[in-house]
Structures are given as structure tokens and as C-alpha cells.
């Protein structure tokens, strides 16, 4: 079956990254997992793209693929990841053409594209000071001068709102709280003024009040520096607060792409709609939550047709369970696409 995804071009020349029909398989002892089944999306320059989905939908793998940091068991089978460091760069670079540990890839990592992870407790190496770990990136990409690097490390720590940047730089990670560590991670990620920041569930492990601080910080820095952000999360609240555009993922596919307003007010995919209906919302009336029946299928099995059809309340027999829906444009102007037979 030919996929239409690559031919859909809702994108301008000012996408930082365009992921086209990305397929990644994992070869494990228990079998092959089709982690990504043809993922396509674009991250517009200076915007925040949210990637949202439940555990195992492939959202983290997508982020790691852009960084070429997928573990050895995962293999990229097809697709392109086109990266434009600056606006209008022609031709864009296909990241996947570089080797994982190639000098070209290493020059992009941490410099042009940087990443922060979910667990602030384990994201920093316990053996080195925070300052040392930030300087490491600066020395690698920006300057050879050690004192210059440590000066910049303190600067960037100040920028992320550290109350006492000099002291923090000299601290070891275990001496900081979770929120502080995540700030330090953000400082490290931003230390080389990256074009794109990939944030993989950066606030999931944090408490609500700390989460709010970190989200504010990221939003503030984003509008200040203009870095594009790919924000991976499972929390619809975080999506609403953080993102400009959203891609909803299910079982290794992007099922819906739209602006954040469209995702929340005019969702088209039954999965997006069910997801929104199943979250309890503050200040709403009580009563039964509408839930999605069943559970996410295990990754070793393959579902024929639309992967959501076994749980979909409006699935059409004979169609949804046999044919994989193509990505179709709902609203070209706003870049709203959906992968659903009911919308085609």
C-alpha cells in the first residue's frame, strides 16, 4: 500500500524538522515490535509542537530518532528526518544519513538539537558537578576556553532562574531537588542555543507546583530565545498550556495533527475525542467519565486496519478493521490532518 503521508505538504520552508514516513522496528528476544509505522509531522520554526499519546505509542522513540539515540535493538527501516538549521536552508539535511556516532551527528546533537528527559533524578551524572556537565557541552560546541565556558555555564544557570547560580554550578546533582535538576537540564540543553529542543516528558516526574514552575520557565525562554520545541507528553493539560501545534500518536502512527485549539475544540479522530472525554477536568460536573474500552494492544501483535478500531466506538466493520486509513487533510489552511476513515 502506498502511503500518502509524504505527499501531504502543508509545510512551509520554515520547518525546523520534517519527519517523513519514519518506520522503526525493535528486534527483541520476544519478537519484533513495530514501534513506528510511518510517522510524519513537521515542527515549524519558533513554535512548540506537542507529541501526545499513551505509553508505548512511540512518542519517545520519535524524539530519540531525531537525535539518533535509539538503542541498539531499534532499527530505522524507512523514512527521512529533514533538518533545517536556519530558515530557508536548502537543501535540508537528512539526519538519518549520518551514522549514530559520526562527527556530523555529534555536531548536531547538543548544539543544533538538544534534548531533556523525563527523570530529573537520573538525567545528570552523579559523579560530576552541575557546572562541569554544562561546561562539557559548551566546550564541545562553542569555545575551547575553559574559563569562558564556566562563565557561560553560570550565565545559562542564571537564565533558567537559579537563585544562586555560582553555588549551583559547584553542586553535585544529588544536592539539588528534582525541580532544580530539571532546571539544570534545561540550562544544559539551552547552553549552545539550539535550533530545536526536544523535551521528553520533562515535567511528568515533578510535583504540580514544580511542574508549573518548569512549564512557565520553558514557555518564557521559548518566547525569549525563539527556540523550537518538540514537547513529548501524555498529559492533555500540559499540551493545552504549552503547545502551539499538536500531533496525537497511537500505536506508532500520528493519528491527528492540528493546532492546539483545533485539537481541543474541533478534534476529528475518535481517539483524540475519547482521550479528551476520559480526563477528569477541574471544575466540571461529576458523574461517569466516558472511558475508552479495552487497553492498548501489546506491542508484539499487529492490528490489521486502523490500529484504533478494536477500541473505537464508531468503527465501521469491514473497513476500519481491514484498511489502514490514509492521512487526510481536514483544513489545509490550519494544517489539520487526520488518519480516520470517517473523516475521509
Amino acid at each position: 500500500m502506498t502511503t500518502q503521508a509524504t505527499s501531504i505538504n502543508l509545510t512551509s520552508h520554515d520547518d525546523v524538522v520534517r519527519v517523513e514516513d519514519l518506520k522503526v522496528n525493535f528486534y527483541t528476544q520476544l519478537g519484533v515490535v513495530n514501534a513506528l509505522n510511518g510517522v510524519s509531522f513537521n515542527i515549524p520554526r519558533g513554535r512548540v509542537l506537542g507529541i501526545v499519546g499513551e505509553s508505548g505509542c512511540g512518542k519517545s522513540i520519535t524524539g530519540l530518532s531525531i537525535m539518533q539515540l535509539v538503542v541498539a535493538a531499534g532499527r530505522t527501516e524507512a523514512g527521512r528526518i529533514m533538518f533545517r538549521e536556519f530558515a530557508g536552508q536548502e537543501p535540508p539535511i537528512n539526519i538519518l544519513e549520518y551514522g549514530k556516532n559520526s562527527p556530523e551527528m555529534r555536531k548536531i546533537r547538543g548544539n543544533n538539537i538538544s534534548m531533556i528527559f523525563q527523570e530529573p533524578m537520573s538525567s545528570l551524572n552523579p559523579c560530576y558537578t552541575v557546572g562541569n556537565q554544562i561546561e562539557e557541552a559548551i566546550l564541545l560546541h562553542q569555545t575551547d576556553d575553559k574559563s569562558e565556558a564556566s562563565k557561560r555555564a553560570v550565565e545559562v544557570l542564571t537564565k533558567v532562574g537559579m537563585p544562586n547560580p555560582d553555588r549551583i554550578a559547584a553542586s553535585f546533582p544529588h544536592e539539588l531537588s528534582g525541580g532544580m535538576r530539571q532546571r539544570a537540564m534545561i540550562a544544559m540543553a539551552l547552553s549552545c542555543n539550539p535550533t530545536l529542543l526536544i523535551a521528553d516528558e520533562p515535567t511528568t516526574a515533578l510535583d504540580v507546583t514544580t511542574e508549573a514552575q518548569i512549564l512557565d520557565l520553558m514557555r518564557g525562554l521559548q518566547s525569549e530565545i525563539g527556540t523550537s520545541i518538540m514537547f513529548i507528553t501524555h498529559n492533555m493539560g500540559v499540551v493545552a498550556q504549552m503547545c502551539d501545534e499538536v500531533a496525537v500518536m497511537y500505536m506508532g502512527r500520528v493519528v491527528e495533527r492540528a493546532t492546539v485549539d483545533d485539537i481541543f475544540y474541533e478534534p476529528r479522530h475518535p481517539y483524540t475525542i475519547s482521550l479528551l472525554q476520559s480526563i477528569p477536568r477541574l471544575g466540571r460536573s461529576k458523574g461517569r467519565l466516558s472511558s475508552i474500552e479495552g487497553s492498548v494492544p501489546d506491542p508484539y501483535s499487529t492490528t490489521p486496519g486502523c490500529s484504533f478500531h478494536p477500541r473505537c466506538p464508531v468503527a465501521i466493520k469491514g473497513l476500519c478493521d481491514t484498511i489502514v486509513p490514509e492521512e487526510t487533510i481536514v483544513d489545509a489552511a490550519k494544517g489539520h490532518t487526520v488518519r480516520c476513515h470517517l473523516n475521509s
Binding site: 499513551e54 505509553s55 531537588s177 525541580g179 532544580m180 510535583d207 504540580v208 507546583t209 514544580t210 511542574e211 508549573a212 514552575q213 512549564l215 512557565d216 501524555h234 498529559n235 492533555m236 493539560g237 500540559v238 499540551v239 493545552a240 498550556q241 504549552m242 492546539v260 485549539d261 481541543f264 475544540y265 478534534p267 476529528r268 479522530h269 475518535p270 475525542i273 475519547s274 482521550l275 479528551l276 472525554q277 476520559s278 480526563i279 477528569p280 477536568r281 477541574l282 471544575g283 466540571r284 460536573s285 461529576k286 461517569r288 467519565l289 466516558s290 472511558s291 475508552i292 474500552e293 487497553s295 492498548v296 501489546d298 466506538p313 464508531v314 465501521i316 480516520c340 470517517l342 473523516n343
Partner: protein, 352 residues
Amino acid sequence: MTTDDMLLEVRGLKKHFPIRTGLMRRVTGMVKAVDGINFHIRKGETLGLVGESGCGKSTAGRAILRLHEPTAGEVIFNDPVLGKIDVTQADRETMMKLRPNMQIIFQDPFTSLNPRLTVGQIVGEPLEIQHRARGTELSDRVAELLKEVGIRPENMTRYPHAFSGGQRQRIGIARALALNPSLIICDEPVSALDVSIQAQVLNLLDELQAKYGMAYLFIGHDLSVIEHISDRVAVMYVGYIVEMAKTDKLYFSPKHPYTEALLNAIPKADPRLRTRPVRLQGDVPSPANPPSGCYFHPRCRYAKDICSVERPPLTDIGDEHFVACHFARELSLTGVQALSDITLEMPKPRSL
């Protein structure tokens, strides 16, 4: 108000963990995980206990069941047979009789079921311990319980590793249900689940309560979930309850600055509510070394001199609204704004 419908009264409950250091393992300090909390639960109601990590909410739940031996305080449980009994003082024999009426559901569906036992053995274990059933009677009862939580009884002979997180959580609920308890402590039962599964489990808990009338102490950190399930809510901060009220009261007109800050901090699932309210600065202090006076004062934007000196007691400001703040009656704080529902409709097939 009659006291007859009172199920559980917790008075001055404390749980301190000693910090031991050095070679001689001398006690050099105390982690005051729970430091004197008071609340009550009526029959059939749900009390939400909410707070950030390390505030002592789980410890409190476990101390009530004496899974942690409480350091001080009373836990008066109104047993249907024995009447009111202080759980903390009960001897082994009494405890054995009390236990069936107070059960617990855990957070992590992957570690709360013994991997070496079948689902049948897991759900049947409480019945076995309490000598309630044996043989076919036992397996009939287990089958019934499984059906109750939406697991097919054929699954009795399977092991936990064959189930997804949501299903395991249902099995854990069936185990708690086995002895017909009048109180279930739900220790973050949906925190580890995906959003779509979370809704299923919350609905199940609602249905079971409607059917059997047990009370829940629902411990959680997600304020939206707590709001959804609770009749009343208590907010904890560093080992204390800072505010406790009926759910709507607490959410719409909070009286404690910490509650206000918490409600403010929740990322709302609505892009139109992208406000940038004043955020709480700093981190939650460690219960081993809390600040003086009101523990919240270093982060509180309404704090005055007295706050750093004197710890405010939890006082009733009327209509079962308890607040531990020197200025509870004076401050006007903002809570959650009532929203109009967004109605979402499923797509309809165009041609059929």
C-alpha cells in the same frame, strides 16, 4: 450531626521515622512524615487526601491500617460488630477482627501482586487468611469478585504477568473487596495508569461504592482526579493537613494559600485558560528539617511575622471547612473557575 454514621476518626496521628547515622546507628533526627493530623470519614463517603510527594499522605494511609506502626495519636474505627475501637491500641486478636473491614488498594499495579501466585490465589488470599471460605466455595467467591471488577473468571488460573496495568489494578481492587470492607484506603490507585485506563478504574471505583456503600480514603496527587471522586478533600503539606472541606468549597473557594497555589498550578486541559498566574516559588521543604512556624510560610506570599513563629492549628471556620492558617478568615483567595463544557462529538461516517 449524629456520630453513628462516623466510620473513622483520626486524632493527632503521628508517624515519625528515625534517621540513624554513624556506626552505632544512633538516632540523630526524625523524619516527621505525618505530624499530628486530624480528620474523619463517614460511612460510605469518599475523603480525598491530596498533596505533593513526600507530604506524608501515603504514610498516613498506611499508619491507619498499622502497616506502619503509628508513633502517636488515635485512630478510632467504627467496626460493624465491635463498635468503636482505637486501632492503634488494638491487640493482635482484635486487629485480626478489625482488618477485614479496612482494606487497601495500591499504586503500582506491577509490584502489588505477588508474581508467584495465580489471580485466584491472590484474590482468595484474604478469604483464606480470615477463614471465610475454602474449596469450591472459595473459588466461587473469587469468580464472583473477579466478575465484579470486570475480569473474566476463567482468568483465575492465570498469573499476573499475563495482564495489563489496568487489569492488574482491577485484580488488586477485587482483593481489597474480598472481605466486604467498610473502608478502603486507595493509595494513588490510578497514578500509574494511562489516561484512558484511569477513567475505567475511576468508574469502577464509583460503581462499587454505589453498590456496596463502603467509604474510600482516596490518596492522590492529581487534583482533577481527587475532585472527580471525592465528597470532601483534605490537603496535606509536609506532614500536616492545611485545609479540609467539601470538594466544591475547597476547589471553588479555597481558604489556605497553599491550596490556592496548588489549584493554580494544575495545567488545565483547555488552551483558553493559558493564564500566567503567580506561581509558587521554591521547593517543598524536607520533613526531616521543616521551617519554623507555619511550614508554608517561606513560600507563602501572604506570610506575616506571626507565620514564622507560630504554627496555626487546623480550625473549623464553619460548615466543616477546616483551615490551618492564621489569616484564613481574612484572605480572599481564588479557586477554580467554573467552566462551560466543551461538547465533543464523534465523527459520523459520511457514506454508509
